[in-house]
Symmetry: C2
């Protein structure tokens, strides 16, 4: 760290958000704790990072539970983490210079140091910096690989997407359209329905909160049945879609936000008979399964973005202190597209 | 038909089993109707077939329901059908001669005519004729393709098989052993458990009727978790297995006999969260999806059979009149291995 930075930071404390307690059901503000620590300094080989954007994502709820899953649970009294865009403000690492922008899985801190491992440089000239948390980040890649690696859409097929106005769903729907499919989106407000049709070009959009018979509504919107169901939510909405699934249907499962806060396992009609009757594939996945193909995925998504074939929306909340509330709001569907906190 | 056959058949009536009514819940004898018809005669291009063995299979229950499925429902007051081994007793078709043995999807009749389409010749010298309804027929192929096309077992992996003493399960377990896996079978009687261990070489076998905590029993038998769950039954047994599934687990679904007689859709814990957490694949299938590979499958199964690597068991019931009861008995697990009726 140079003398100037050191001087600037000397008397300033660094804000940190710790994991205070494991939520029971839906997370509340009590589950988080705001503390201050001394400003960190970059040691040899390290960079000092200033957080610019913090991603809040439904999957983080899983890490708050002390259960075996694909990533280890958060530890109590340690900082929470998610994907962050940060600026290098001091560097003792040859690979990074002051002014570089990076993404990485980082702590919820205003400033933090890193040895550079797991950091990827991003270019604010190709897309906005926050886009690297969404369409060109985990959520865009989740949509891309769920479709291309699991669902294999063929032109003319019918694709239903739940959580369609969300960060993953809105991109998944557009990719399916690019690939020549008929796309039906399911979402929970008239605003989102309007957005799906106007901004994202979905063929049909159904408001599950105002529709009494979802099974019939999907049958009406998909007279040829459903070939692909890109499932972001699980729960009763999924029952209604699966009742319309075609032979050889494919169901990439990338989340079940409707169940993340459940304190007991939710019961529903067993799916096995439906899957057998129609030779349906259901495949759970997380984006990191396709890590070796990330570069290709980002390249393809960037190309579509630059060609104007792909649009995205963000809900940007301002202020470090707002990170926990922005996360909690995900479970009430208060976001449209990617939920991001600008620091 | 030659004069001798005509003479023989002149005054003999042909026995037929019709579909009398659609079962509600478990089928009963009332759902079937025995009638007699005049003995059929082979017209030009036709063969007259004498039924030798009739296959009864759980999937037939699905055809008794008037619902959209992978094969059309049985029609009331028409003969029921299943896979049959028959002998050609008269032929006006160049492709078949008297004395040939064939399999095909045929009616529950003592004698019937066919134009030869869909019939396949079988060789009683390679294996017993009834084996073509089991290990070298649909059930053997179901086990083979469920494993090789969906589950892709790797040596050292742990495979759990439900309905393990059944026609499909007993073959699936042996194939998984041949491919180097640890195999755990689930079955419903001490006799079957003994059979799995002694005759079929399963590593472990669990009696789900006498085990109170199946989840724990499976965890104990599979200390490294479950990589593949070959599911023949669905229901609560499947919940217990899925609670032990490993990351990147694979679940071929070839049936859910526990639900076939349900009059309402059974509720169970939703599987989606489990599949997402562990990136698990669940794939419903029927054997005819792999029809273009049947020849290869039968060749491989015959090879293993002749090498003594594959064993099979049959429950053979005697008499045409016993077909319906043999079918009903499937749902009480009265068979061990393939249930076949010898005429």
């Amino acid at each position: 760290m140079d003398d100037k930075s050191r001087e600037q930071n000397k008397n300033v404390m660094n804000k940190v958000i710790l994991f205070n307690k494991r939520p029971v059901g839906k997370p509340t503000m009590d589950d988080f704790k705001f503390v201050e620590e001394e400003m960190p300094e970059a040691a040899t080989g390290q960079v000092l990072l200033k957080t610019l954007y913090v991603s809040v994502d439904p999957y983080l709820r899983g890490r708050m539970t002390n259960a075996k899953s694909y990533i280890p649970p958060f530890e109590l009294n340690k900082p929470l983490q998610s994907t962050v865009v940060a600026e290098v403000v001091a560097s003792n690492n040859d690979k990074f210079k002051v002014g570089d922008h990076i993404t990485g899985n980082l702590s919820w801190k205003e400033f933090q140091v890193s040895d550079g491992s797991g950091l990827n440089k991003v270019d604010g000239n190709v897309a906005s910096l926050s886009a690297y948390l969404g369409v060109l980040g985990m959520t865009g890649l989740t949509a891309y690989f769920g479709l291309t690696e699991i669902a294999h859409p063929k032109a003319g097929e019918t694709v239903v997407i739940s959580g369609a106005a969300g960060a993953v769903g809105s991109i998944a729907g557009q990719i399916a359209k690019i690939l020549g499919c008929k796309v039906i989106g399911l979402a929970g407000s008239e605003e989102k329905i309007e957005l799906l049709k106007s901004k994202f070009g979905f063929d049909e959009a159904i408001n599950y909160k105002t529709t009494t018979d979802m099974k019939q509504a999907i049958a009406d919107a998909a007279p040829n049945g459903v070939d692909i169901y890109f499932d972001n939510v699980g729960g009763e909405i999924s029952d209604a879609v699966l009742a319309n699934i075609n032979k050889f249907g494919r169901v990439p499962l990338c989340g079940s936000i409707s169940n993340y806060n459940d304190t007991e396992v939710e019961l529903g009609p067993r799916v096995q008979s439906t899957l057998v009757k129609n030779s349906v594939l259901m495949q759970g996945f997380i984006v990191s399964n396709y890590m070796d193909k990330f570069k290709d995925g980002i390249e393809q998504l960037s190309k579509w973005l630059q060609e104007g074939k792909l649009d995205y929306s963000e809900t940007v909340v301002n202020g470090f202190d707002q990170i926990p509330q922005a996360f909690i709001d995900l479970f009430d569907g208060k976001n449209s597209g990617k939920m991001v906190v600008k620091i």
